[in-house]
Amino acid sequence: MEETLTTPFWIVFISSMAAVLIALCGRAPNLREAIIFLAAICKLALLSTLTSGVLDGKLYTFTLINLLPNVGLSFKVDGAGLLFAFVSVTLWIPVTIYSIGLLRPKKDLSQTRFYACFSIAISSAVGVAFSANLLTMFIFYEILSLSTYPLVTHNQDDEAIKGGRKYLTYLLTTSVGLALPAMIIVYQHTGSLDFTGGGVFNDKTSNTLLTILVVMFLFGFAKAGLMPFHAWLPGAMVAPAPVSSLLHAVAVVKVGVFSIIRITTGIFGVDLLANTPSLTTIICVIAAITLITASLIALTQDNLKARLAYSTIGQLSYIILGVGLASASGIAGAMLHIPMHAVGKITLFLCAGAIYEACGAKYISQMNGIGRKIPFTFTAFFLGSLCVIGLPPTGGFISKWHLLNGTLDSIQQWTFAIFLISSFLNAAYFIPIVFKGFFSAPSDEKVYNKASEPSMLMVAPMLITATGCLLVFFFSNFLYQFVEQFLNVYAKTN
């Protein structure tokens, strides 16, 4: 059931238009921020108009313009896209509140640029969510890379410039060097780039070519942070806290994994993957290596943001591993892990930023005991880490449940062990922080004495997202409905 509707287009472009307005209203901060909220609310309202239709199994499509024969700048809204769009737009609101709380008092004069680029980034994330074909997705993917560069280098000091250079180098090199040729090879081979249920390949495509393409796509969309193309993520942590939280917990990295989900389900097709063990093995092995290595590296990091960054790399591999299982529940788990991990990790990043604002502590070794002085922040941190580790009653439990289920349906059953080991590692690198924060004696007197809760504008968003971690657990069935629609289209036979 496809229906042509311009709403998807407006949902994508509303925040780009907001970006223009934001740029024009640079002199009037209140008006500028009002525009952001207005845009976010409009986006949410438009998204919710599509919800009931999508849950009834409808697909909303819209083609803006034809770019190549057979391939247009087209949008298609399905369960997965809608879910992802909801996640990124909903989380945009608390992060904006948080950034107001963080940047306003500093009289930062690049705020206008910050908010404008942020809006464009949200636009392109939603654009990726709604893309109907690989080309459209690639376009929004590139716009996202470019529009987030000013955000990463926001501080404009040497460290920021270095981080930004790394960021763009990794993302552009891989997308231009691997994803683009892979896309062109697909187009040359099949004449189509549309995401369709059964994939675009026919039986004649050789296994070797498929294998090469899978590898090219996996590494080409480096936003997914698969090793060895992961180094941009810790590098980009020089950005201000709201940027790391939204972009490196939600928009940027999730766009990477979402792209890979789309490609594996829409271009290759679940059936093809399930029937070609060599392909799933490659995906699973690459993801498993990244998963374990990243978790181990995270253990060794003393810088809180760096530990979070490596944890993110590991969690992203959960999603890719889920896709690699090529079973319905594996993919469902992967899809669900996007919102679950997003809400958990965003809380953690916001907390890291808040701790730094509260007492200037960047390193975990400095944080002993400060939990007693900033209890709200640390409680939020605790809930966030529960969600990322995957313990009830937080959302992470649900997605990991589906993922573990998926391993049993799949031929890649060895991944069951990988999931378990990595969950232990997750616990090992998060729980001590919380534990020492509350119960240890202060390690750094200067930090301890300075610590006090940051402004309400920063605490409130943290608490909202921390509550979110719990809510997604209790309302996970609602989220699952979206995933179910997605599975109906892309993984029916499975």
């Binding site: 313009i65 034809n66 770019l67 190549l68 024969p69 247009g72 700048l73 004069l109 690049s110 080309l135 690639f138 376009i139 590139e142 470019l146 560069y149 280098t153 404009q156 920021a160 410039i161 930004g164 250079r165 763009l168 180098t169 552009l172 090199t173 231009v176 060097g177 683009l180 040729p181 062109i184 090879i185 187009y187 040359q188």
Partner: protein
């Protein structure tokens, strides 16, 4: 009137050149409006004729000069010069004349500053150059093509030499290389003429592919013509003259020559390849084909690697041209559908990209007096619009979607994949990445190197954009990069696909 449109395209700038120098004896200031008027007529006629072509059933619009008639119908028709517009050159004509017009508007202020008192000569030459380039594109006669080639070349030698200093030697080297290319072309024409007895392109296209497939003389002619065209377009290894010639020329000359002169030579090559000799003929000599593809790969790599070693924005732009030439020659010699589509599309796209780049350089030179990369720090705060235009142009050159550069690269890579020419694919990607590195360098220097001047305590930088007469054409061309990209499908299906000859399926 409408049937005389084809000739108006060349007559506009040609008469403009003549009258500009004549009226300037009476009043020097008149030369500029005269030239603009001529160029506007030409641009308008070119666009009209393209639309006429698109909305009629015709494949080609002919126009006979001198009343000799056509080679098919009339006894002495062979003697007459024919000009014709089809889908291939219609596109080129519209691009060349429009960019010529915009560049003329753009160059007023810059010429006023750099060549004070000599504007009238400059604009006569400018107009003459545009008419030469339009002539190459519109003519239906291979000897006439040579004549127009030399008209364009002679005026460009003079335009470059206006740069004083090192430009004289640069222009002299260009003259040697250009004349050698033109002479080889002429020699090739001689070989073709000996065998066929005709110079008319359409006539040749019926004779050569059908009856003279195996003639040695015609083959030698083909090779000579190709080498001639390559020398003119600075294709590796005949590229040595280009960087100096275009970077020591006055900025206005550079802005006109760089985008158009080389692209029109590429058109000439395409015309000879696909119309006169047919793709079949090209495919019949695979060893030459693979050599040319290898040379294009080297050309792309050489251009890219040299560009990254340069510290001057103009030199960087010049080496970009060399690598872009590799794109087009390579695309054409892939001799399959996507490759040719990509080559033709890239001629238009690259004309716009290079034009935007050189106009931006012109704006920067006008305000800062130099283009050393190191000295461009804080450019974003000084000239924000120009800087944004520079970033968009660079993005197009890299091939970031949805700019036009992405789609030309898409077609070219598709063509190379289809032909299995992997070294060409890799060269395209490497050149993209190198351009990306240069873009970062520009961003870091122009944007991040100085502390934000809006912040208290930091040095303030006053905003100082180039004058509007320079800025507006620059922005128009820059915007067109995105528009061309967005309307790729329309452009390809309505024009470029129709311009392609029949391509034998392998």
């Amino acid at each position: 009137m409408i049937e005389h449109l084809p000739i108006l395209i060349i007559l506009g700038p040609l008469l403009g050149a003549v009258f500009a120098s004549l009226t300037s004896w009476y009043r020097p200031k008149l030369s500029f409006p005269v030239v603009i008027f001529g160029l506007a007529i030409s641009s308008l006629s070119a666009i009209l004729i393209v639309f006429k072509l698109a909305f009629s059933e015709l494949d080609v619009i002919h126009y006979q000069l001198g009343g000799w008639g056509t080679p098919e119908k009339d006894e002495y028709g062979i003697v007459g010069i024919q000009i014709s517009v089809d889908y291939l050159n219609g596109l080129i004509l519209a691009t060349v004349s429009t960019i010529g017009l915009l560049t003329a508007v753009f160059s007023t202020r810059s010429v006023e500053r750099e060549l004070t008192g000599q504007q009238r000569y400059f604009f006569s030459l400018f107009s003459l150059l545009v008419s030469g380039l339009l002539g190459i594109s519109i003519t239906g006669d291979i000897f006439n093509l040579y004549v127009f080639m030399e008209i364009a070349a002679l005026s460009s030698y003079a335009l470059i030499a206006y740069g004083k200093g090192r430009s004289y030697m640069a222009s002299f080297n260009y003259l040697m290389m250009g004349t050698m290319g033109a002479c080889l072309y002429l020699l090739g024409v001689g070989f073709v003429f000996v065998k066929t007895g005709t110079l008319n392109i359409e006539n040749l296209s019926q004779i050569i592919p059908q009856t003279l497939q195996n003639s040695q003389a015609v083959f030698v002619g083909f090779v000579l013509i190709m080498i001639g065209a390559w020398a003119k377009m600075a294709f590796f290894p005949l590229h040595g003259w280009l960087p100096n010639a275009y970077s020591y020329a006055p900025t206005a000359s550079g802005a006109l020559l760089a985008p158009l002169a080389t692209k029109v030579s590429v058109y000439a090559m395409l015309r000879i390849m696909i119309t006169v000799y047919s793709i079949d003929y090209v495919l019949k000599s695979p060893s030459i084909q693979s050599t040319v593809l290898l040379l294009s790969t080297i050309s792309i790599l050489v251009g890219s690697f040299f560009s990254i070693t340069q510290s001057n924005l103009r030199k960087i732009a010049c080496y970009f041209i060399i690598s872009e030439i590799g794109y087009m020659v390579g695309g054409a010699w892939l001799a399959n559908e996507p490759g040719l589509k990509g080559a033709i599309y890239h001629v238009v796209a690259d004309a716009a990209m290079t034009s935007a780049f050189f106009m931006i350089i012109g704006c920067i030179v006008y305000r800062t007096g130099q283009t050393e990369l190191k000295k461009l720090d804080g450019l974003f705060y000084k000239m924000p619009l120009t800087f944004v235009a520079l970033i968009i142009t660079m993005a197009a050159l890299i091939g970031v979607p949805p700019t036009c550069g992405f789609f030309s690269k898409f077609y070219l890579i598709q063509g190379a994949v289809q032909a299995g020419t992997w070294h060409f694919v890799i060269a395209l990607l490497i050149s993209s990445l190198i351009k990306a590195i240069i873009l970062f360098r520009i961003i870091e220097i122009g944007y991040n190197k100085v502390p934000n001047p809006a912040k208290e305590g930091n040095k303030t930088i006053t905003r100082e954009e180039a004058p509007l007469s320079m800025l507006i054409p620059t922005l128009i061309v820059t915007l067109s990069l995105i528009l061309i990209g967005l309307f790729t499908d329309k452009l390809v299906t309505n024009f470029i696909a129709k311009a392609l000859p029949e391509i034998p399926s392998l």
